[in-house]
């Protein structure tokens, strides 16, 4: 019988491998056993009472346990307990729960429980006492994170994010534009550069990743699940992350300096040390409740504001206080916050190049001596408070950490204030939206603080219109504003393009006040973008369906770029303003200058709309250099550059000998141009030759085959047609009477 044979065979099969695989592993560990230290030492008579008390205490605080589960060792000699007990739990989870709840639990006045895992104690008891020399790991040279600055052609990089693909490209002269790297980063929200360009970050579900170096390797990770926003500190030492989901630390989550601990649960903001990846501190998001539970304002981002030297980070509790934390400890500076009734907004004063130099000198020479000509400026905070009852609105300039008030200015009929620092920290402009008595119309005053001068003089520029955008010229003494008196302002609708005026102001050195340079009336521009080195400015119309104009202006058209500006000398005030060019990028959503100020990038992002997404790169005159229309295009970002490493003297030297330095580049350019135009011509010639050869061959082949003459299809003779037109102008009939 076949069946019989099979059964016998079955018996012979070796099951050992399968048995091995499916073997039930019995829980033999002691993971569910805890050792509770710090128990009262008792004699046998009190045992039952103690055990009942202990089990009650445990049950109340954490996990139900039975008296039978407690094992208390006895010192038989003295007849007393040894002062500790073993408790066996049903599972490891229960044991963990009890460990967290009962460790350091005050049992009574004299006794505090110290709870440990049985396995831990076993482990520590078995530690080898002999010293073992730790092996020194061989030093691995890391890639230089700023290697891109050493590009021999001095090009800049940018990153594009389209659909699911990120690409990093070089941008320079047309012949030098090429892809730099195409990473295979997947599944993230968006990319962001760090402020000095050292790292690029991607926001994933699990947290933030930083990449960098010539091979774009992973540099660090920060586990903040569902992170939505990130912000770097100005010197790239710290990172702030935010998620709308409160932090939750699940059971058994990884613990350590780089991870959230249960204390962080419920918070939204986290501060990290970039280099070590350690979590420094977490905060809850403060949405700020205005006057008696008014409507919740949108969260301000960045929620934490960094001092320009990375020494402090400030957090505002709207209407109450500003809390300044010291880095890297993240403790509250001076152990108290700045209590400011009604504070709405604040800003740190940025450090200028001079300040940074001074700070660096101070560091190099050890402690700052008194002989030093320039001392690093103390950090400054400005904040403003609105009008409350009889108190006027107030803008305050405060030195920090000395907490001395440097200047205060009272303001009246204030609707809203915005603080704008010039990037060198020379000037502060407070854009004050004021309302008339009836509160029906709003106009704007610009209160300009000259911060470098004694007593911080304030000048007021009064305007009749509402200012919608304000922008300082970087490193300059000029600013531009967009103002509007359009009745549609404030109620945007489809098809409405708001008419605006753009005005430029400049500091008049003679009178020491800000004077209007020029107003460009009747524009649609709503965005000002100064080139990073000043002088050039682009006015753009963003977010409009019908208009998407870009205007490229030069404010020193008549002056040679010597690096020094002598405003208005020997020239008519405002005569140097010149329109260099206009351009149009349909549906533009973002406008950004490259760090050198030579090129401008505009992009239409699919996050805003889906019409003609893509990006374009222009030179400072408004000539289009590149344009790519790409479906599902999302992001374009220039890689920022750190401060120049050249000293002031070196920079001056370069400026003075610009012609000499420039010669080499000019030659290179000329050679390049010759080569590229020769290439184009050669390519065209080749194409034409190929085409003509193909045409000749096909004609020969076809017309020989059929034997017909090509002339049949040649031009027919032209036929001249002459048309005579008779036109009767007038006709009269006369009756002839005979």
């Amino acid at each position: 019988m076949p069946t019989a044979t099979t059964t016998t065979e079955v018996d012979d099969i070796d099951y050992s491998d399968i048995e091995k695989r499916y073997q039930i592993s019995y829980d033999q560990g002691f993971d569910n056993v805890l050792v509770v230290d710090g128990m009262p030492i008792i004699d046998k008579s009190k045992l039952d009472r103690l055990l009942a008390k202990v089990s009650k205490e445990f049950s109340r605080k954490s996990v139900q346990i039975k008296i039978e589960d407690i094992l208390m060792p006895w010192d038989d000699a003295s007849g007393k307990s040894k002062g500790f007990a073993f408790i066996e739990f049903r599972s490891e989870e229960d044991a963990n729960l009890a460990l967290n709840a009962m460790n350091n639990h005050p049992f009574d006045a004299k006794h505090t429980f110290k709870v440990n895992r049985f396995t831990d104690i076993e482990h520590f008891a078995q530690v080898d006492e002999t010293y073992v020399e730790p092996t020194v790991e061989t030093y691995q040279t890391k890639e230089h994170l700023r290697a891109w600055l050493a590009d021999p052609q001095g090009r800049d990089q940018y990153v594009t994010y389209r659909d699911q693909d990120v690409e990093i490209l070089w941008h320079g002269k047309p012949s030098q534009c090429e892809p730099a790297h195409k990473p295979d980063w997947r599944d993230f929200l968006y990319v962001a550069w760090s402020p000095l360009g050292t790292y690029i970050s991607t926001l994933h579900r699990q947290g933030v990743r930083l990449w960098g170096g010539p091979s774009w390797k992973l540099q660090q990770r920060y586990a903040h699940p569902l992170v939505k926003l990130i912000d770097f500190s100005p010197c790239e030492n710290y990172l702030v992350t935010w998620s709308n989901e409160p932090i939750a630390v699940p059971e058994g989550a990884l613990q350590g300096p780089q991870y959230f601990s249960p204390d962080d649960e419920g918070n939204n903001l986290a501060v990290w040390d970039i280099k070590s990846g350690d979590l420094l501190r977490t905060f809850p998001t403060d949405f700020g409740v205005l006057d008696g539970g008014g409507p919740r304002k949108q969260m301000q981002w960045p929620a934490l504001k960094w001092s320009p030297d990375d020494k402090f980070v400030a957090r505002m509790t709207a209407g109450q206080m500003i809390s300044v934390h010291e880095l890297p400890s993240m403790y509250l500076q001076g152990k108290k916050s700045l209590k400011i009734e009604g504070v709405v907004d604040f800003e740190w004063c940025p450090h200028g190049d001079a300040d940074v130099d001074a700070a660096q000198n101070g560091q190099e020479n050890g402690a700052p001596t008194k002989a030093q000509p320039k001392r690093a400026r103390e950090n400054m905070i400005t904040y403003w408070t609105p009008e409350v009852a009889n108190q006027p609105a107030r803008v305050t300039l405060l030195a920090f950490p000395s907490r001395t008030i440097l200047r205060q200015k009272n303001l009246f009929n204030v609707t809203e204030c915005k603080l704008f620092w010039q990037n060198q920290g020379d000037f502060l402009c407070v854009k004050v939206d004021r309302h008339t008595k009836t509160k029906k119309s709003i106009f704007t005053n610009l209160e300009i603080f000259r911060v470098r001068e004694k007593d911080y003089p304030v000048e007021v520029v009064e305007l009749k219109d509402t200012v919608t955008d304000f922008s300082w010229e970087p490193k300059g003494e000029r600013f531009a504003i967009v103002s509007s008196n359009d009745p549609n302002l404030g109620n945007p609708g489809p098809g409405i393009t708001i008419k605006t005026d753009v005005s430029f102001y400049q500091l008049d050195r003679a009178k020491n006040d800000f004077k209007l340079l020029r107003t460009l009336a009747m524009r649609t521009s709503n965005t000002i973008r100064w080139a990073p080195r000043g002088r050039h400015v682009v006015l753009g119309t963003l977010g409009s369906h019908t208009k998407s104009e870009l205007e490229f202006w030069d404010l020193d058209f008549l002056q040679e770029d010597t690096g020094k500006r002598e405003p208005g000398q020997g020239q008519e005030w405002g005569s140097g303003i010149q329109l260099l060019g206009t351009a149009d990028h349909y549906g533009v959503t973002d406008v950004e200058w490259d760090p050198s100020g030579r090129y401008l990038a505009t992009s239409a992002s699919a996050w805003t709309h889906t019409l003609e997404n893509g990006y374009a790169i222009w030179d400072f005159r408004g000539q289009e250099l590149e344009k790519h229309i790409l479906d599902r295009f999302k992001q374009f970002l220039w890689r920022p550059r750190p401060r120049s490493l050249l000293t002031k003297d070196q920079q001056k030297k370069v400026r003075r000998n610009l012609k000499e330095f420039g010669r080499a580049f000019e030659e290179e350019d000329a050679a390049d141009e010759n080569q590229s135009s020769a290439e184009v011509i050669a390519r065209r010639k080749r194409l034409v030759d190929e085409w003509n050869a193909w045409r000749t061959s096909i004609r020969l082949a076809m017309f020989e085959d059929t034997g017909k003459k090509e002339a049949d299809h040649g031009d027919t003779e032209k036929e001249e047609i002459e048309v005579w037109v008779d036109e009767v102008i007038e006709q009269t009939e006369e009756v002839v009477v005979e």
């Binding site: 369906h545 019908t546 349909y586 019409l611 003609e612 229309i629 011509i681 065209r684 010639k685 194409l687 034409v688 085409w691 003509n692 193909w694 045409r695 000749t696 096909i698 004609r699 082949a701 076809m702 059929t706 090509e710 299809h713 031009d715 027919t716 036929e719």
Partner: protein, 333 residues
Amino acid sequence: MRPILLQGHERSLTQIKFNKEGDLLFSCSKDHIINVWFSHNGERLGTYDGHNGTVWTVDVDAKSELLVSGSADNQLRLWSVATGKCLFVWEFPTAVKRVAFGEDDTKIVCITEQRMGHQCAIRVFDINREEPTRQSKEPLHMFNIIGSKATVCAFTYTPNVILTGHESGKVSLFDVRSGEEIENNERAHSDVVTDLQLCKDQTYFITSSKDKSARILDIRNLMPIKTYTTETPLNSAAIAPNRPYVLLGGGQDAMSVTTTSLRQGKFETRFWHRVFEEEVGRVKGHFGPINTIAVHPAGTCYASGGEDGFIRVHHFDESYLRAKPYGDLEIMD
């Protein structure tokens, strides 16, 4: 270059054609009417009335005597160009999508639509030029297209061989006697072939497609010689004689036109350099997609017909004919 606007149709244009001399322009439209115009001034010479459905296609013979038209009323009609009289009517089970004269105007080819259980068919008729009102009802040759249906067709220089473009993007050569596929290029395009126009000596042809590109193909082996890739679906492509350009027209689908702005629709006629495959210019004007483009046989003017119901006739400026933007390169036509 000031265009002449021909406002003679109430609905979108389907095809326009110049006659051999280029003095007449024939146009057909979804409003059931065929019009004929003087190309030099845009005056309407007359109409050919009779169809009772969208007129999908027209063609005129070399002598400008006979006109043939195909319509959605399932009819193929032969007209006298001079008198406007209908000479003969053929009836089919489905709509006629494309017609073309060929072989010294002694034959016509037509494509009938695949619908209502009928397969897409190609028929070739003999034309009795002596007595145009007495034509044979039965086609000389007929065969069905297997696979993807044909959308456009034309006679080639070789007798009894026709060229077809298909819905799948395929381009094929058929022997009409046997219905056999002589040659094909399955991957000429990746979407519907919307237009097919031969060059003057019929050695190559241009195709346009919804896949946003147009191509010049070699008529012998159907291999692509040049490709012109745009960012919009194309409805028509034409070759400009005597100048090294091709003209492409299209725009967003008529369906989604109302939801987009004029700019977005990309309703311009694009001029591309035939050899360098670079775009050289655009002509704006239509406010709907361009459905059909035709160039004067002498290359002195072109016309475009749009979904907006207008025909725009552009006579090229003198400078267009004289300019040599790429230097002294002798480019054969």
